[in-house]
Symmetry: C2
Subunit: 171 residues, 2 copies
């Protein structure tokens, strides 16, 4: 597949043409909200939650793991005034399909005995999970217990279903 | 401000109603592309890059820092076949406005001498930056040099302008 970046400027043009008054949006999210969700290509959190530019911080990584994003959550809360966090994991997530040792083996096999690569990948916890709802509950429990998260934060946990686009509250 | 999560199900309904055939989308991103960008509320990367569900992994954190997301990038490349990474930072980013010691002081002052909090926050590098374009170049250079990133990856670096919605390639 040829690189996609050569298309970015052209694909950006309609957005620029319809940009309107978005330049006046302030930096702090108007809904004082952080969405933590997965990087999965099938997810468009702004679309499926009806959010518009300016509403919420959106943090995304493999699995929608909150613990992996403490740095960003602190910045959001302490500098930009957010006071609510909603964690979304989703059905059909890749993080349900492997163990950290599986991916370490893939990386080491490809590196053909490179000891730097082996040592580096062995040090990474890939934060996979076996039970979808349990993984949401664990993230919410962690957010509620972590001393660096403001205690007055409203924290909820959700599942997004890639089969019908629905969101369902877990906790 | 009252919690926002009570609105999620209602706000999700139009998306569910128009979900169409998205259930058939495969897990691997069709464009073999990762977008790394900031959590900033003013950014809607799917909208400003004309991406639709299924196209690309989207990783977001404070600043759009790539190094902070090595775990997720490895999962994306090794398990889901992506071979291109585009890093976006943006004008007016909060990460240009403070130093790690500033935010550490804010957290410690609020914790009123709690030594657990002090020790934990002192251990976090908040990954702020002083020069926008330089920060993009640094992330791209890191992605090209990191042994755990596949050497055949196409890596580009971009700036998104919150004043007009335009994307501009830096490197």
């Amino acid at each position: 597949m040829s690189p996609q970046h050569t298309e970015f400027v052209k694909r950006n043009e309609p957005y620029v043409a319809g940009f309107g008054d978005k330049a006046s949006l302030p930096m702090p999210p108007s809904k004082k909200l952080i969405i933590v969700t997965c990087m999965d290509a099938r997810l468009d959190p702004a679309a499926h939650l009806g959010l518009k530019e300016g509403d919420a911080h959106v943090i995304r990584n493999a699995g929608g793991n909150a613990k992996d994003e403490l740095r960003s959550i602190i910045v959001s809360q302490r500098l930009l005034g957010t006071r609510e966090i909603a964690v979304f994991h989703h059905t059909g997530c890749g993080m349900l399909t492997f163990a950290s040792d599986d991916i370490r083996s893939i990386v080491k096999d490809a590196a053909k005995g490179d000891t730097t690569v082996s040592a580096r990948v062995d040090a990474i916890d890939f934060l996979e999970f076996k039970d979808l709802e349990e993984s949401v509950k664990e993230d919410v429990a962690w957010l509620k217990s972590e001393p660096l998260i403001l205690p007055e934060t409203t924290v909820t946990g959700w599942v997004y279903d890639v089969n019908d686009g629905k969101v369902t509250q877990v906790v």
